[in-house]
Every structure is written in structure tokens, then in C-alpha cells.
């Protein structure tokens, strides 16, 4: 660890919700050296604290949130906390972070990490500041949506020291398996169902406030990295312009250009041009956008603050945030919907109710295919038409799902359980039970392998954001259909993701640069040698630890596999039919294990653990 006080406060806050007590523990200096912060540090603390066989929705599950040495500095986008838990959707590791401002505020309260154990007897919220840590009753908050709970918890705040709120909505309270945890009302720790874990712990929210600064050891070195990072962000077209002007939804037309934009539960990637225009980032910017916004210390500013005018349907004028690319695609074309207002309103509901929009969209799409196949009927008097293309169903489905009412109770289980329940498990477009995001794997073998091998299931963020290489990689663009290059390319992309998550920074910085500026900034802040070679070790170490947890939780190579549709149903790209054949999956998975130096069953062996200084068993 760097000299105490540089980059870290040296404190881990552990809260036992069963007992309702909190204690500050010293942060083991060796952990910073080995795991850096954010995702790395959280994964290690989680691994040491949790029983991998625990029920994800039981009291034995553990939630860890960690900041990084850069959080609290002016490093671009460094405002994220990273949350690790056992996922109720997949049964494997859950790992998520979010933009917004909560992570930076948490660190300013004087802690580097938070470990949550046990289950409160009744709903509680946590109040954390440098002066005190309190476990308070959330009786009056339970049942409120995220926005209302956030407003209630910030009422009467001291001017200039507005607290930051991380909260769940009704979806989390009702243990919807893909429920999110939300900060700043609209920025979500979305994937893998952390909201359900909080709900199961009777934890409604965490309020943080503080003004403690992150001290920097070597300001010149930090500044060199900072200058380089800002320069590159201002140069790369995606970070300098596209994101601010069009938001992530600006990717809609671009991803379609490379025929990677999925349609109707991933049946194909074909869209009519005029349909896509109706939901594109350009249309969003012209019709619904009120202003762009930015997370903590972010010069990119991709947030969409939007307004949907009231219409003939009787829906009122509404303001909110979104939709982002993933939301647009998963609740849009993947459900056969090209109605931007319907998507946006459903997005607002998901934010309020605390639902992950990707898994929600993917699960609705699965339900639509099941419905059209006659394998699912809308229960009771829901009266919903679940055919593809019915955008009007999205909002009511979000409400039903969050409340687990009617058909919503089935959707709340996620697409894998839903499809299995209906006797058509092959119609869930998920890996390890996590719904696939808005990039069709048949359009990039690298992305396909990323989904297969992501520790959290089909996640573009943990699995490697290969699309940033497929089309916007600049000098780093790699072939999309190379069996030879994909295993290493995706390992490297996954590792870059681990680094970004362990530094508490946004994935979109990767459009501008990779490890070099971060190496300078991390070394400058801590005074430690975080050379790119050492950062690479950290990345590999974290990947191994996540894998170890998953294996202990029951993972086998069969879990590193895509749904059959991607092997059997081709899409057409540049006149050629493309699938991810079983032979390709088999070969890439084998090669990926080897690149990771895991054995043929995907297990990291003792020699690798020794080489990476990984303590396998918790003390």
C-alpha cells in the first residue's frame, strides 16, 4: 500500500446487519498492492468473507463496495464504487458499478470499502459520515420508489453538503432477481441483481456524506497521466463528441452498420432503416433531449436528461434520464419495438422501480417469443398483448415485475427461469442466466467469447467490451471473425475492464486510451509502482479470484457457452452467413482457458495461484 493517507484512507467499514453494528477495520496494506481497489479490492474482501455455497438471497450473502485510489481525485470519471456479491440471477459472482456521484461521496466519508453482512430484522438504511455510522430504521422508506426514497433522504440537507443516496426500489424489496441499486436517482448498479440482495437483507438505502480529500503523493506524475488522459479524451471522436451529443444511443445506427444490432429476442439483426431512425441517438437528441449531463469528474458527459411530452394515449408530460443504448436496444428492437417514447417511459419506470433495463428487456423479449409460440399466456386479468412490437406493454410489465404481480412474478425470475418454466429453455438469450446485452455475438467472435467467459454471465462490461474494438477501436481495431485472435483479444479487453473497475472509472474512457495514463495516475496518487506490467498482474489476479469463487459456487465449463440459437440460426453480414458454431465455441473456450493459464476444465491451478500470490482459501 502507498504511504498511509495517499490514495486511501486505510479503513474498511464492516456492518453486520443482523446485529445492527458497525466497525471500522484497518485496510490490509498488502491488499492494495495486490488488488488495487474497486472491483479488485471488493472481490478479495468478498471472497474472504462469503461462503460460495450460500443462498444469494439469504443472510449469508455478503455485499462489498469498494472505492479506488483515484476516486476523489480529478482523474477523469473516477467516481465509482464497485459492488460485489453473489448473484441471485446466476448463482455466481455478481459485480457491478455505476456512474453518478455516490462512489466519490462514500470515499469522502472516510472509507475505502464497505462490507455488508447478515440480514436486518426489519428494513433499515445506513447513514455514513466521517463522524458517525448509523443503522437506521427504513420503515417509512420501504415501499417507496427510488426517486421518492432519495428525495426523502436528502430533505433538509445542510447546504453544500448534500448527502448522496444509493437505494433500491420496490423491485429490490420484492427480490426481483435482476433488481438494481440506484444512485443519483437514475444511475444504476444494474447487472446481476444486487437490488434483490439488498432487499433480501432488508437494506433500503445507504446515505453518505463527507468532505475528506484523497491525498496525492507525487503530483507531477499524477498530472502527467491526467494531461495525457484529457488530451486523448478530447481527441477520440467517441469521447470528444459522439457521447456528449448523441449519448450512448448514438451507437444505435453505428452498431447496425456493422450488423450487430439484435432484433426480436436475437432471432436476427435485420431492421428497416426508417424504424431505426425513430429510436436513434440523433432522433433522441432532436426530440426528447433536454440536456446532456455528466457523472462525477467526467469530461465526456453521456447522460441524457430527457422529457417525454404527453400524448394522445393520455400519458402525461414526464422528465427523467435515458434511454441509454442498451436500454434502447433491449426494450426496443429486441422486443420488436421502435417507439422511442414508449422505450423512454419504460426506462423511467425501471429507474424508479429499481430494475436493470437490460435484463428486463431481455426477459420481456423472451416472454414475447414464448407468447407468440403459445408457450406463455398472460396470467389472470393482466390482459397484456405480449406480441413482439407492443411497446405499450413495457411500462405495465415493469410495474408488474417490480411488484411480482400476475405475469410479473414470472418475469421477475429472469428469462432463464421463465423459459424453463414454460418448457422452452432454449428461448432464453442468456449466459449463466444473465441476459445478453445489445451486441449480437454472431457479429463478433470476440464479443461472443466475452459473453461466454464473463464471470458474471453475458455482460459486455465484465465480459470485455469488444465492440469498442470492432468498430471504434481506432488503431486497436481487431478482426471480428478471427478464431485465432479472439481468445487473447478478449482476455485483454476483460483485463482492461478489470483495471477500469478497479480504478473506479468509466468504461467509455477505453474509447480514448487504455492502461498507460491510468498507470501514471495510480502511481502518482499512491506513490507506489503501478507500472503497466504490475497492473497486468493485478488484472490477472482478479480474474483468477473471480473464477475461483465461481468454481466454488458450482461453475463448470458448460456454463461458459452461448444459447443454441447463435450456433444454429445465421445472420447475414456483408453477404455471408455468420453463426458462432459449436466447434468455434469449443475451440475458443479451450484457447481462452489456455490464454488464462487455466486447465482444460477452466480451473486456475496451484502454480498460477502461487505465481499471482493468491491465497486460495479464506482464513
Amino acid at each position: 500500500m502507498g504511504e498511509r493517507g495517499y490514495g486511501f484512507h486505510g479503513k474498511v467499514l464492516e456492518i453486520d446487519l443482523t446485529r445492527g453494528d458497525a466497525r471500522a477495520l484497518p485496510l490490509d496494506p498488502g491488499l492494495v498492492d495486490l488488488y488495487l481497489g474497486g472491483r479488485g479490492l471488493a472481490t478479495r474482501l468478498f471472497y474472504d468473507a462469503v461462503d460460495p455455497g450460500c443462498d444469494p438471497l439469504g443472510p449469508d450473502n455478503v455485499v462489498v463496495i469498494a472505492a479506488s485510489p483515484l476516486v476523489g481525485t480529478s482523474a477523469p470519471t473516477a467516481g465509482r464504487g464497485h459492488m460485489v456479491f453473489k448473484s441471485p440471477l446466476t448463482g455466481f459472482i455478481g459485480s457491478a458499478n455505476s456512474g453518478g456521484t455516490w462512489g466519490a461521496a462514500f470515499k469522502a466519508a472516510g472509507y475505502d470499502a464497505l462490507v455488508l453482512k447478515g440480514r436486518a430484522a426489519a428494513p433499515v438504511y445506513l447513514d455514513i459520515s466521517p463522524e458517525a455510522v448509523r443503522v437506521e430504521s427504513a420503515a417509512s422508506l420501504w415501499g417507496l420508489d427510488v426517486h421518492a426514497a432519495t428525495d426523502r433522504m436528502t430533505e433538509g440537507a445542510e447546504p453544500g453538503l448534500r448527502p448522496k443516496i444509493l437505494a433500491i426500489g420496490p423491485a429490490g424489496e420484492n427480490r426481483v432477481r435482476f433488481a438494481a441499486v440506484v444512485n443519483d436517482k437514475n444511475r444504476t448498479y444494474g447487472r446481476s441483481g444486487p437490488g434483490a440482495v439488498w432487499g433480501a437483507k432488508n437494506l433500503k438505502a445507504i446515505r453518505v456524506r463527507g468532505r475528506l480529500k484523497t491525498a496525492i503523493k507525487d503530483k507531477d506524475r499524477f498530472q502527467a497521466g491526467l494531461d495525457q488522459a484529457y488530451h486523448l479524451i478530447k481527441q477520440a471522436p467517441v469521447t470528444k463528441r459522439l457521447m456528449r451529443e448523441l449519448g450512448t444511443a448514438g451507437l444505435v445506427e453505428l452498431i447496425d452498420l456493422i450488423r450487430m444490432l439484435p432484433h426480436r429476442n436475437f432471432m436476427d439483426c435485420s431492421h428497416r432503416e426508417e424504424d431505426l431512425e425513430r429510436i436513434s441517438g440523433e432522433t433522441l437528441a432532436k426530440t426528447l433531449l433536454v440536456r446532456p449531463g455528466a457523472c462525477h469528474a467526467c469530461p465526456i458527459g453521456c447522460q441524457r436528461h430527457t422529457r417525454v411530452p404527453g400524448g394522445a394515449s393520455g400519458a402525461g408530460d414526464e422528465k427523467g434520464e435515458g434511454p441509454e443504448y442498451e436500454t434502447t436496444v433491449l426494450m426496443g428492437p429486441v422486443c420488436g419495438v421502435y417507439d422511442l417514447s414508449a422505450i423512454t417511459r419504460a426506462n423511467y419506470r425501471c429507474n424508479e422501480l429499481g430494475l436493470d433495463t437490460i435484463s428486463f428487456g431481455g426477459t420481456v423479449a423472451c416472454a414475447m417469443e414464448l407468447f407468440e409460440a403459445g408457450a406463455l399466456t398472460a396470467d389472470g386479468d393482466d390482459g397484456l398483448d405480449l406480441r413482439f412490437g407492443n411497446g405499450a406493454a413495457l411500462e405495465p410489465l415493469a410495474r408488474l415485475t417490480a411488484r411480482r404481480e400476475g405475469i410479473g412474478n414470472r418475469l421477475a425470475e429472469g428469462s432463464r427461469r421463465l423459459a424453463a418454466f414454460c418448457g422452452r429453455p432454449e428461448l432464453s438469450m442468456s449466459v449463466k442466466g444473465l441476459e445478453i446485452p445489445g451486441y449480437d455475438p454472431r457479429a463478433s467472435l470476440t464479443q461472443a467469447l466475452g459473453y461466454m467467459t464473463s464471470p458474471t454471465g453475458a455482460c459486455h462490461l465484465r465480459g470485455g467490451y469488444a465492440v469498442s474494438l470492432a468498430f471504434f477501436g481506432g488503431a486497436k481495431e481487431i478482426p471480428r471473425f478471427s478464431l485465432l485472435q479472439s481468445p487473447i483479444a478478449i482476455r485483454n479487453m476483460q483485463n482492461l475492464g478489470i483495471l477500469q473497475d478497479s480504478l473506479g472509472v468509466c468504461r467509455f474512457t477505453g474509447y480514448a486510451f487504455a492502461a498507460d495514463p491510468w498507470s501514471r495516475m495510480a502511481s502518482g496518487v499512491t506513490g507506489l509502482d503501478f507500472s503497466t506490467a504490475r497492473l497486468e498482474e493485478v488484472e490477472n489476479r482478479v480474474a483468477v479470484l473471480e473464477r475461483l469463487f465461481n468454481i466454488e459456487a458450482g461453475l463448470t465449463p458448460a456454463d461458459d457457452w452461448l444459447p443454441a440459437r447463435f450456433a444454429s440460426t445465421p445472420i447475414v453480414i456483408d453477404g455471408r452467413e455468420r453463426v458462432v458454431s459449436e466447434a468455434a465455441m469449443e475451440g475458443m473456450r479451450r484457447d481462452y482457458y489456455r490464454v488464462r493459464e487455466w486447465d482444460a476444465a477452466g480451473r486456475p491451478g496451484p502454480a498460477l495461484l502461487r505465481a499471482l500470490s493468491i491465497k486460495e482459501r479464506r482464513p
Binding site: Q228, G474, L484, I488, A514
Partner: protein, 440 residues
Amino acid sequence: MTGKDWQASEELLGLFQSLGRASLLVDLQDSHSGNMSVKWKDRSGREKIVITATGSQKGDLEPSQICFLSLDETDYGHYKASSETDVHARILALPGVRASFHAHTKELVTATFDDADKPGAPAAFVPIDPLGWHVLGGEVPVDWLAVPSGSFEVIETVPRRLASHPATVVQTHGTFARGRTLPEAFYVLNIANTSGYIARLLETIGVDLGRLRTAIRADPAAHFAYPPSPYETEGDDVCDFPDEEEILKEFRKTGNRVFESRLSPFHAGSISARGVDDLLYAGKGAMPRDVGGPLRRLPIAAAAGDPEELRRHKLIYAETDFQTVMHCYQPEAEALAHYRYPGEAEPADRVVPIDAEGGFLYLVIPVLPPKVDDAEFLAKLHQYKVVIVRGGGVWAVGAQSLSEVLHHPSSVREICLYRIGAIQRGLDLRKMEPKKAQKW
């Protein structure tokens, strides 16, 4: 010269056209100067000389501008053939020689100018760069001839020189190079001109060339990393990974860019991308698009007998997560690796960008000694992604793509050119360099 002959030799025509174009791309000659020739068997099995026509525009050779001549008699083919035909014929008569390439090679010719009284006996040109030293055999003869082109003296002198040297200079006129194939002759010629360029750059930045040459001659091994692999004349069209269409295209684009952007002379340096067990390897890195070079798929495991060039690629892959590697003999970097700041006894151990773009990309680029050990080489490469080995070229690595790795030497070239330009203008580099770079 007959149409029929051309029908039978599409490949030969293509080669002349490609290398003619390539020679102009790297500015070895003006549009109409220079000439090239090969020994070639016609359909009846008779050996002939094939040579470019006099006054032909080498950037776009037409079939009618390639002449077929008898080896041992004057025939109708001579009507159009190059005015240097006789010297080419004598060169092609040398044992083992089947190709000859002549160009004005401005850089080398300028580097071999002198203002001594004539007639004179100019000193041989001694390359100070690794490729030049090894490929040209330690020196290039330079002859002053009273009539330096098309004359009997040329016909007598040049083949005699080429009997013992791969290239020779006729002072104020140009360079002649020989080879077993035309690409080999072009390889020699391009390297010779690049050596001249490097020597001139060294003079520009104030390096004492005389002293350096004396030191190199006394102990060449200490000044160069390792010799390049011997030039292979076969297999330029071999491709072991035709099914990897996208990577294949990338290799071709990258190799072409290395050549056209003058990051390495023709067919010098190397490029690779790794798979899990194999690496895809272009051992003749600078490959003009329409000439190409061998593209091999090789086991990634180190093997006894691996050439040093290949061993380094494998070493990088064995010890790091990088996916692509490039080695270039980048002339500006080679020259700048010898630069001493005023008042300092030793060459600098880093190149510090003084331009904005370079400074944002690299605070410094390490300059490593010729015999740098593997551990130091890997550590620096890992940290900086690109390093200059004095007497050993530029090495770069990429996390993902060939395009990414290409960007490094390409940036290094610009960074070096800016520094060289500033030195030439008499500016104080220390004042222009970011202060923090001096600490790194």
C-alpha cells in the same frame, strides 16, 4: 522484345512494375532515372537479360518498357534498352548474380560527396547502422569516374566492385546493387540509401561520424544488437494462414505501411500477431502491397535454432500479454539514438518528444544499449510500449491489433524528425522538453 515473351511472363512484368513503383515511393530516384535487370529463361530455355527501357517512367512501367535482350549478342532488344545495359550485362555475368538494380540513391550519393580535387580516390562509405553494416558487408566502395554514367569506366569498375560487395557507389551518380533476385537487389539498394540517410542525419545532429566509424570498425559486435537474418530469395508468396482473412488483410496493410512510411527499408524488420499456440509472422516486415513477403504460422514455443529476430518475438509473447509485436529499422530513431546533449559524454538514454502529440503519447521513449539483456528489454517494452535499441532498431508492442503496434514506430519517426529539425535549427532541446520527462 516480343509480345509473346510478355504473355509468358506476367509475373516478371508484375515484379518490375512493383519494384519500379516501390523505388519511387521511397524516393530512390527521379521518375525516369535508374534501371533494373534480371537474368531470365525464355520459353525455349534460353537465358536472356530483361531490363527496363531507357527513359521509362519507373512508377508505371508498361509492358513495352521492359526489354528482352540476348545475353551474348546485340539483338533488336537493344534498341530500347537502358543506356546502362552493358554494365547490367556485366553485373549479371558475375557468379550467382541474377539481378541488378541501379538508382541515384540521393541520400547515399550526398553522403559520399567530397570536395577534394579530382581525379580522386574517395573513401569507402562505412555504414553506422546495423542493417547497413551487416547487409552491405561493412563498407560500400565509392569510385570517382571521369564519365560517371554509361561509360567504359563504369562498365569496367562497377562489376569489379560488385564481385566483392553487394553494392557500390559511383560518386555523384548513384548506386548499383546486385542480388540473386530482383527483390534482393532492391533490398540492398534501399538499405544502402538508408545508411546514407542515417549518416547524414548523424552529421545534422552533430555526431562525430569519424569517431563513431572508427569505434564500430574496431568492435562492430559491441555496436550492434545482432545481424539480421540472411535474405531469403524464396517464398515471398507463401501464406500459412489464408483462412484468417481479416488478419491476412491486416498484415498486408501493415507491411505496406511500414514500407511506404519508411519505417524500415524494403523487406527489413518483422511483424507478428499471436494466437494461443502459434504466432503469425512476417519476417520481411516492410512489404509493399504488391510485392508481399512470406507470412508464416509458427509455433509460439521457443525452438533451438530460432533466428534472433524470431526469438525476440517469442520471448515477448512468452513473458507478456501483448498480442502484436513489430520491429523496424527506423532510420531517424537509429540516428537519434546516438545523440549527445551538448557537453555530455554519452549518448542520451531516452528520446523526449518536443511536439505536442508525441508528448501526450509518450513522455519519453527509452533508448537501450545494443546488447540490452532480455529482462531489461522486456521491462522497458512493457512500460513504454516502444523502445529504441541503439544499433538494433525500434521494437513496439500492441495489446490488440497490428494497427496499434504500427502506430508506435510511426509516431517515433515523427518525434525524431521534430527533434532533429530543432537541432538543425540550433534550438536548445533541454529548454523545449517537458521538465517531468527529464525525471523519468
